[in-house]
Symmetry: C2
C-alpha cells in the first residue's frame, strides 16, 4: 500500500481514485472545484480532500494529474516540485505536455511519466466515475530518454492495478496514433453529422432515413465538445497530417466511384472488412507469458528505448522490472510479455543491438 495523490477529481480522476482505494492504496485528492473533491470523498473516490495541490502531494509516493490536457504541465510541475517521486497524467495528447515539462524544469522532468488511458466514456463528470473504468483497456505510457526508471516502474505498477494493459510508446508516436484512431474519427463523424443536419430543407427527411449504420458512425459526435478544441490545438500537427491522409484516401475513393471501378472498390471494402473483423477485442487473460532479460548499458534513455520498441510492435508490457540499478554500471531490464510475442520482441531487440535471454514463466 502506498499514498497516491489525485489532482483533478472528474470522471477519470474519480475512477482512478476508486480503483486505487479498492487496490488498498490511500488516496488524497485535490480539485480546484472544492465541491467536486468533497463529492469525490463522499462517493469513496478519495480518502481525504486536500485544500491545495501541495497538500495533496505532501508525502505521496506517486500522483496522477487528471485534468484537461492544456492544464497538465502547470499542475504536474507543482506536484513534482512537492517532491513526489513518480507523477503520471491522463491527457489525450502527450508530446507537447512532455516537452513543456522538460523545457521548464529539466531537473524534475525525469519523474514525470506521461500517460493516456484509452477508456472512452460519453459521461464527463464524477457521476460517471467507476472503479472498473480501466479494466481490460489499454493505458499508454510515454517514457522518454530522460524518464527515471523507478518513476516509470511505479506508474506502470499502479496502472496495472487499475486493471489496464500497459503499452509504452514515444510521446510523438502516441500523438500520431491517436490522431488516426481517435481525433480524426471524431472530426470525421462530427463533420458527417453536421452535413446531414444542415443539408438545407431536406434536414428532417434525412434524419428520419438515418438507419443503424449512420447512428453508429456518428455516436461519438454526441459527446461533450468542451475538451476537443484543446486536444485539436495540442495535437494540431499530427491531426492535420492524419486529416491530409484521410482526405487523400477519400479523394481516391471518390475517383474509384466516379470511374465505376468495381474491382478497386471491392478490394477496398474487403480489406477494410477484414481489418475491422480483426480489431482486437478486450484483453486475453490467462495467456502464456515469457520473460525477456535484457542486459543494458549505462546510458540515458535505454529503458525508454526498450519499452517503446515493444509498444511500437503492438506488444503490451505485462510486467516490467529493472533488475539492477540503471544508474552506474549498467543493469538488466526484465520485460514480461505474452509468449506469442516473445520471439518477435527478441528479434527486434537484437536488431537494435540488445541481446536478451528468454524464458517461459507460465
Amino acid at each position: 500500500m502506498s499514498r497516491v495523490a489525485v489532482v483533478g477529481t472528474g470522471l477519470i480522476g474519480g475512477s482512478v481514485g476508486l480503483a486505487l482505494r479498492r487496490a488498498g492504496h490511500e488516496v488524497r485528492g485535490f480539485d480546484r472545484n472544492a465541491d467536486r473533491v468533497a463529492h469525490a470523498q463522499a462517493i469513496g473516490a478519495v480518502d481525504e480532500a486536500a485544500h491545495s495541490v501541495a497538500e495533496a502531494a505532501a508525502g505521496a509516493d506517486a500522483a496522477f494529474v487528471a485534468v484537461p490536457v492544456a492544464a497538465v504541465p502547470a499542475l504536474a510541475l507543482e506536484v513534482l516540485e512537492a517532491g513526489v517521486p513518480a507523477v503520471g497524467d491522463v491527457g489525450s495528447v502527450k508530446a507537447p505536455v512532455v516537452a513543456e515539462i522538460d523545457r521548464q524544469r529539466p531537473d524534475l522532468a525525469p519523474r514525470f511519466v506521461g500517460g493516456h488511458p484509452m477508456a472512452g466514456s460519453e459521461q464527463d463528470g464524477l457521476e460517471g466515475a467507476d472503479a472498473d473504468l480501466f479494466v481490460g483497456t489499454t493505458w499508454v505510457l510515454t517514457p522518454t530518454e530522460h524518464t527515471d526508471g523507478a518513476a516509470f516502474t511505479a506508474v506502470r505498477t499502479l496502472v496495472s492495478q487499475l486493471g489496464a494493459e500497459v503499452v509504452a510508446v514515444t510521446p510523438e508516436h502516441h500523438d500520431a496514433l491517436v490522431a488516426v484512431v481517435s481525433h480524426v474519427p471524431h472530426l470525421a463523424a462530427t463533420t458527417l453529422m453536421d452535413i446531414a443536419a444542415t443539408t438545407g430543407e431536406e434536414h428532417a427527411t434525412l434524419l428520419r432515413l438515418a438507419a443503424g449504420g449512420f447512428r453508429d458512425m456518428t455516436r461519438i459526435a454526441a459527446g461533450h465538445p468542451g475538451i476537443w478544441p484543446d486536444i485539436c490545438i495540442a495535437n494540431r500537427d499530427a491531426i492535420v497530417n492524419a486529416l491530409d491522409e484521410y482526405l487523400k484516401a477519400l479523394t481516391s475513393v471518390r475517383e474509384v466511384v466516379a470511374l465505376e471501378d468495381r474491382t478497386s472498390l471491392l478490394e477496398l471494402l474487403e480489406r477494410a472488412r477484414a481489418a475491422r473483423r480483426n480489431l482486437p477485442v478486450g484483453t486475453p487473460t490467462g495467456e502464456a507469458l515469457v520473460e525477456l532479460r535484457v542486459p543494458v548499458a549505462d546510458r540515458p534513455g535505454v529503458f525508454a528505448e526498450v519499452t517503446t520498441l515493444a509498444g511500437s510492435l503492438g506488444i503490451n508490457i505485462v510486467d516490467f522490472e529493472i533488475a539492477h540499478s540503471m544508474e552506474g554500471g549498467g543493469g538488466v531490464v526484465v520485460l514480461v510479455v505474452a509468449e506469442q510475442h516473445g520471439a518477435a520482441l527478441e528479434a527486434a531487440l537484437a536488431q537494435r543491438g540488445y541481446h536478451s535471454s528468454r524464458s517461459a514463466i507460465r
Copy 2:
C-alpha cells in the same frame, strides 16, 4: 387477405414473407436459387415455392421484388408483364431503377412503386430473416408522375402491415438523401478503417489503441462488401456529389485545426452534438393524428406530388387514400399524418395551390 408474390427470398424477401404471412396474406415465393426458396418455405416465409417468376406472379394482387439493385428492373418487368397490379421493390437506389422500367415499358411502369426499407442488418442471408425486421423503421416509397394511385395505395398498405412507417419522396430525392446518410458514411468508415489498418508497421499498435469511438464508427465496415459496388455504380452521381461536399467540409475542418481556430471548432462540435442528440429514435406511437382532404385536379402525377411533398418535409404518411377516382373528373386525396405536422403540411400544400381541409381523427 390477398395473394402476394415475393421474388428473391434472402434476408429482406424472407423477412417480408414472414411478416406478410403473419398479417394473414398468402405468399408465393420465387428465388433463382431453388434451395433458398425451399429453405424459405421450411421456415414459414412463403406458403408456396414457385418454379418461375411467372408462376409466383400468376394471380397475385401485389408483389415485392427483393433482389440486389442491379437485378431489379428485369425481374420487376417480368412480374409486371404477368399482370400483377402493384409491384414494389427494396433496392437501395431508386432513380436508375425507376427510369429503366419507365424506359423499357412505359405502359407497365405505372404499376411499379419503387421502395427502400431503411432497416439495416449485418446479416446477409435468410438466416437473419425476421418478421419484425421492419417494425418501427422507415420504408421510403418513390412514386413518380406516372405512378398509378391504386398501385401506390396497395404497396403502401402492405408496407404499413409490415410495421414500417411510410415516407414518400421522389426517386432523385431518395438517392441524394441515402448518399448522405448511408452510402457516404459507409465509404467514410471503410476508408478510415483502411487507413488505420495500413499505416505501415504501426498497424498493430494502432489497432490496440482503438477505443469505443473508433469501434462504433467503423462497425459498418464489417458488413458484407458484395452489395456495395452495385450500389455505388447505381447511385454514382449522388455519391460523388455527397463525397465532394464531405471533402469540402473536411478540408475546411482541416483549416480550422491548422489555424487553431478554437471558436469555429467549438461551433462545429456543438452544432453536430445537438443534431446527433436530436436524431429521431424509433416511431412515436399513439400520437394524435389529423386527416387532410385534398381536392385534386385530373392530371397525371398529382398524387405523387402531394405525397412526396409530405416526404420532403420529413412527414411520414400514416394513412393514405384516394377518395374518388383519380382518373377522370378529379378526386380527393386523403392524407393522415401526425397532428403536429398537420399545419405545416397544409401550408406547404397551399403554397403549391392545393387547398385542403384538416380535421383531427384521434
